[in-house]
């Protein structure tokens, strides 16, 4: 019981976060939609890993659900990581490049 209640509380608090202040504005609706979109996208992305192995996909989907609930609101993180700061983008590019090389080398 306890765990279900706390999950419910978490979700309720999470939705309430968006409607604090002066209700909703055209900016806030965008953020709410983007938050929902981002979490759904994350779940779909996690489920894509089934093309490598099905158990991995299931584990990742469960992990993604947990992550979405724990780390909500995601959109704040997403917006921060999407800043056009030169060093931040450079950092992400280096990470991407490393992953691309690692994955293709591993595939060999």
């Amino acid at each position: 019981m306890g765990s279900i209640e706390s999950l419910y509380d978490k979700i309720k608090n999470f939705t309430a976060q968006f409607f604090g202040g002066k209700g909703f504005s055209s900016t806030m609706t965008g953020y709410t939609t983007a938050e929902l979109q981002a979490s759904v996208f994350l779940l779909v992305l996690a489920s894509l890993f089934r093309i490598f192995s099905v158990p991995l996909g299931i584990i990742l989907v469960i992990a993604a659900i947990a992550g979405v609930i724990v780390f909500a609101p995601l959109i704040v993180t997403l917006e921060r990581e999407n800043e056009s700061d030169l060093n931040r983008v450079l950092f992400w590019v280096v990470i991407y490049f490393a992953i691309i090389i690692a994955v293709t080398m591993w595939g060999r």
Partner: protein, 517 residues
């Protein structure tokens, strides 16, 4: 494949005419009437040239291919050592260059009528942008590909910085830093492929990779692939460079963004096809490309949702829809590539409609932020109709062209066994609708309840320096351009075979005969 004519007379003209026009415009500098006449005349010449040009090759130095037997051949389907750098003009090139030159006419007209100073160099930059895109889409050798990408990125920086706001100068500087990085990467990739195969001609390099056992050298190929993908990501503004690319799109003038997004779509298509042809047989090559495209779509469309300025919403949507194009290409099937290429054609057209509408909104003098503008539909009902049609086309509503390509993409990903990707494509088109209708509702449909235009407060969205006076009426020419583009949207939406005929041939060649350009 039926193209046997070599040293086609039209191909050099796609490069020479823009260069000569650019030099002339630069010399004229500020004589706006003469500049306008010359620029529009030469862009119309380019449009006609793209329409009437036959298909064929341009072999630099004019040599034919040398067959292994030592004889010469002009037939592209026969195996031969090309010896030279080459351009190819086929169906894909024809439709993309035709649309690009049509847009060039519009962009030149718009910039000539809205800009006040430095008009000559600015339009010269736009012509050179056209030239670099034409080179990239026609190219069949690494050397020109590299030069085209480098030139394109420097020209892009120039066009963006020309809008004179601090944010655009910053965006240009950041993007140029990346051009330095990815240009170096591409040079290394080039060197690696040259070192392994010994050919600068892509056809010959692919034949060499396919026919010779390269297992001892495959590590070199993997690293070359990584660098190639890096510069592909950079040129198309795919994730993770999308924040910089959307900065570029959002801070340039909207009419310049029309040309910039066309250029980046052409780069994505050309480089994506070359990567697929060269490295398509490597394990995980397609998966890497697919993951980059999926991430681009997700990031672009999610970031588009939280923007409060039509200009920035469009900037992120352009990025997200580049992801749709690359998705089709990275699926690697005939259907997928057809869908991706068709999506590129459609995307260029409907995004141009939306961007030109955005430019028209600026003529009302309050910028494009949803906080400052309102009630435009009452003052310009036809503009509202155009932007709604553009939004419908972008979000894949049936009678318009976006629907036709998105349904091909969905079918292609379903038949490749990737229903999740199909779901993501669907979600992207629905989210596009939501992201676009927030600014459209606020700017066009909601009554204008802000009595005074806050000039200083409008942020990055407002046209400040070089644009025309606020509240001047929207030029009639904008409506004409919108009408033409909407006609294309509807025609392609009702009769997609018109464009599919051009791109299907390329898709078949890439999958089954990757060495044929």
């Amino acid at each position: 494949m039926s193209a046997v004519a070599t040293n086609l007379w039209t191909i050099p003209l796609f490069v020479i005419i823009p260069i000569i026009t650019a030099i002339l415009l630069n010399l004229l500098y500020n004589k706006s009437r003469t500049i306008k006449v010359i620029a529009i005349a030469s862009s119309i010449v380019l449009f006609v040239l793209a329409l009437i040009s036959p298909y064929g090759f341009q072999w630099f130095t004019g040599q034919p291919g040398v067959t292994p037997g030592g004889t010469y051949t002009f037939d592209a389907s026969i195996f031969s050592y090309r010896l030279s750098l080459e351009y190819y003009f086929g169906g894909l090139q024809q439709i993309l260059i035709t649309i690009m030159s049509l847009l060039l006419v519009f962009v030149v007209f718009l910039s000539a009528s809205s800009l006040r100073k430095n008009i000559g160099p600015y339009i010269a930059l736009i012509f050179l942008l056209f030239m670099s895109s034409a080179i990239i889409i026609m190219v069949n050798d690494f050397y020109h590909l590299w030069i085209g990408v480098e030139m394109g990125s420097l020209l892009l920086a120039g066009v963006v910085a020309a809008s004179g706001e601090s944010i655009s100068q910053k965006a240009a500087l950041k993007y140029t830093f990346f051009s330095a990085l990815s240009g170096a990467g591409m040079a290394i990739a080039l060197a690696m492929i040259l070192g392994v195969t010994g050919y600068s001609n892509i056809t010959n390099a692919i034949q060499y990779i396919m026919s010779d056992n390269l297992s001892s050298l495959s590590g070199v190929l993997y690293i070359a692939f990584g660098f190639f993908v890096l510069s592909w990501i950079y040129a198309g503004g795919l994730a993770p460079i999308h924040p910089l690319k959307s900065d570029v799109y959002g801070s340039a003038f909207p009419h310049a963004t029309v040309m910039l997004q066309t250029q980046s779509k052409l780069m994505i298509v050309a480089m994506g096809l070359i990567i697929l042809r060269l490295f398509g047989t490597l394990p995980f090559a397609r998966e890497v490309m697919l993951s980059v495209s999926v991430l681009t779509m997700i990031m672009g469309v999610t970031m588009a949702l939280i923007q409060t300025d039509l200009r920035w919403t469009l900037a992120y949507l352009v990025v997200a829809h580049s992801g749709l194009v690359t998705l089709g290409i990275s699926l690697g099937t005939v259907q997928g590539i057809t869908g991706g290429l068709f999506q590129a054609v459609n995307d260029i057209v409907y995004m141009s409609v939306l961007l030109i509408c955005c430019e028209a909104v600026m003529y009302f003098g309050k910028g494009t932020s949803i906080k400052t503008v309102g009630g435009i539909a009452k003052r310009a009902p036809w503009l509202a109709l155009a932007v709604v049609i553009g939004a419908f086309a972008a979000s894949g509503v049936p009678p318009f062209n976006g629907f036709q390509s998105e349904i091909i993409l969905i079918q292609a990903s379903l038949s490749s066994g990737l229903p999740e990707v199909a779901a993501i494509v669907l979600m992207v088109s629905v989210t596009t609708f939501i992201a676009l209708f927030k600014p459209i509702y606020n700017i066009f449909l909601k009554p204008d309840n802000s009595p005074i235009a806050m000039e200083g407060d409008a942020g990055a969205g407002i046209a400040t320096m070089a644009m025309v006076q606020p509240t001047s009426p929207v030029p009639k020419s904008i409506y004409l351009f919108l009408a033409i583009l909407i006609a294309i949207i509807i025609v392609l939406g009702v009769y997609p075979q018109l464009a599919l005929g051009f791109v299907q041939d390329t898709a078949i060649k890439v999958v089954y005969f990757p060495w044929v350009p």
